[in-house]
């Protein structure tokens, strides 16, 4: 290995990235856009579900229940209907996900039997949203009836009845159960995988396409020197992007960060080597820029979103698919990031995923170096 040759290649690569608007866009704009898109877009919490209400009674009590729905962050009343036909049209037309119908004898029942029912009609074409919305609706109604009960006992001049036993949950690591806190580490892993592989996917194929490779292979530069010289600048660019993503995750999306920066640096470096090596491998194997870039996209996007545990919990996958997830480097990095962010795990806690990631980096590096051949045709 000649340091001089590695330096010459790395320097050339940096100049080229700096002068190529497309590369600069991949380097700077892509991580920003993806962080924004995924940070805001992928949100498993449901808020402001559009609903309509059909108050068949119009009493003080029924209006109070409506207000409870209105006040809830989870719902937004977009329409008030006057008959079932209108309710049906609102749901069929997709304007509302749920309709709340208050029966004409609501306040009467409430006064007489101390219980009344409310009808909820749900659009279950998206069963996940429907389920969650129903859960929230039940919560709103439950809190409303609690208030009614309290008022009643107070108006009767009695002391509040003993509070019935209530199960109390204590959630660790993501106390607010905010899905975004769980998602942000995954978004960082996804963005780095995408950007990393994109960065290097063009580096060899571009030289083949432009015809510059023909002379480069006639020089004494070796495969290892070429790979090192070409990956090194992108490694630093990747670290820059990683910093950018992490800063956005912590300071913009306010993801709690409990770990140490060094843990993050070590593991991120390893993951970067893996994804940069992957992009280089693809670039060296496929001599067209468009082809290499697209394959790099597919190879990183699909497994990282589907098989890293980011969108679907790995424990819930069929055993065969679970086995497959071990081949996805983002799986390790995602679990590391989650632990570092939410649990504050240190290097010692993460030995297993770090070793696996390092193994991955070694194998990809060897494959990538071998994929490049210093011959034509």
């Amino acid at each position: 290995m000649s340091l001089r040759r590695i330096k010459a290649i790395a320097k050339k690569e940096i100049i080229q990235v700096w002068r190529d608007p497309r590369s600069l866009m991949v380097v700077l704009l892509m991580p920003l856009m993806q962080m924004a898109l995924l940070g805001y877009g992928v949100n498993l919490d449901i808020k402001h579900v559009p609903i309509c209400v059909f108050d068949r009674e119009g009493s003080q009590q029924s209006q109070a229940l409506m207000k409870a729905f209105q006040a809830s962050l989870y719902f937004r009343i977009v329409e008030t209907e006057r008959d079932y036909g209108a309710v049906k049209r609102a749901i069929d037309g997709g304007r509302c996900k749920m309709a709340v119908v208050i029966p004409p004898d609501f306040s009467q029942d409430l006064a007489a039997t101390n219980s009344a029912s409310v009808q909820a009609i749900l659009d279950a074409t998206d069963d996940n949203t429907a389920n969650i919305a129903l859960g929230y609706a039940q919560a709103v109604v439950a809190s409303y009836s609690g208030n009614v009960q309290l008022e009643r006992t107070q108006s009767l001049g009695q002391p509040p009845s003993a509070i019935p036993a209530v199960a109390q949950y204590r959630v660790w690591f993501n106390e607010d159960l905010v899905s975004r806190d769980f998602i942000m580490p995954g978004v960082v892993a996804l963005v780095l995988a995408l950007v990393g592989a994109q960065l290097t996917s063009l580096t060899i194929s571009r030289e083949w396409e432009r015809g510059t490779m023909e002379v480069l292979v006639s020089t004494p530069v070796t495969r290892m020197e070429l790979m090192t010289g070409k990956i090194l600048p992108y490694f630093f660019i990747g670290l820059l992007d990683a910093t950018l993503c992490l800063v956005i995750a912590v300071f913009w999306f306010e993801t709690p960060f409990r770990g140490a920066i060094t843990t993050l640096f070590v593991t991120t470096s390893l993951f970067l080597i893996v994804v940069l090596g992957l992009g280089y491998f693809i670039s060296a194997s496929i001599r067209s820029q468009v082809g290499a870039s697209q394959i790099a996209l597919v190879v990183t996007l699909l497994p990282t979103t589907l098989l890293s545990g980011f969108a679907f919990p790995i424990e819930q996958m069929p055993p065969a698919i679970q086995g497959l997830t071990f081949l996805v480097p983002a799986r390790y990095y995602f679990s590391i990031l989650k632990s570092v962010f939410l649990k504050g795990s240190g290097l010692a806690d993460l030995v297993a995923p770090i070793v696996l990631l390092a193994l991955y980096a070694t194998i990809i590096g060897l494959l990538a170096a071998r994929a490049f051949r210093k011959t034509l045709g």
């Binding site: 190529d20 510059t212 530069v221 070796t222 210093k374």
Partner: protein
Amino acid sequence: MNDAPAAEIRIVADRLTKRFGDFVAVNEVSFEAKRGEIMGFLGPNGAGKSTTIRILCGLLRPSSGRAEVAGLDVARYPERVRENIGYMSQKFSLYNDLSVTENLRFFGGVYGVKGARLAERLDFAIDMAGLKGREDALVADLSGGWKQRLALGAAVMHEPAILFLDEPTSGVDPESRRRFWDLIYTLAGEDVCVVITTHYMDEAEYCNRIALINGGKLVALGSPGELKRSAIRGEILLVEGDDPGAMLEALEAAPAVRDVAPFGSSLHIVVDDAARDLPAIKALLGERALGWSRIEPIKPTLEDVFVQLVAGDGARGGAQ
């Protein structure tokens, strides 16, 4: 030529063959080239010139045969061979998005040139390309002739003993071509062994020796003078007239004429003895009422050699 001492020999090609599937691109090509020699590969497109050069640079593995460059077996020591060669590919292969100096520094770097020598070679290459004062210009903004001289400068950053130039002058104006050849002569004068491919006949005349290649085979090898003497059996007559097409047809049938070939708007015909056969040919053209403005013996050009040898080779190939 053959009695040159071993140290003088820079390139040995020994029955080099390259097949791509069923297609034989290079067929048992053997030759030697010495230091300070300009060796030209002449032949039509697809004849196998570039493939031969790429094998010698170690960019393609030969299907059979052996290549030795700078005293080293190319298949066994490709990297050491590459330290001793400079290569200019057919397609322009410098970085368009880098400046003149950045390109030269890059190639200096990958060739392992450093320190004071790098600065000196940088000056040399910029001077040679005539790019003084334009060191920071992007290569994309340079015109063809400059690009080509800069590519040559990049290829000699490490002062290689052997230089391979694959159609370096294609698509360049005549003035730039002439300047480029001046540079090649200078390099050869400094003992560099230059192998250059071309399909310009006039350029081939500048070479010390020519390897005529057609259909992957080495058809002839020798100095331009030698080739003209040995390849042309007979003499050449130049014929110019109003209707070259009809004349060509008529002359092909004439008994005295061994061969006819169009050269631009005129014809070159090969006869055994110009003085003896001239009246018969004039008579024949008169008989057919074909007017001529000029019929006279001329010295054979390399193009005549080329037509003779390539046509002859084709005939032999057809007879097999």
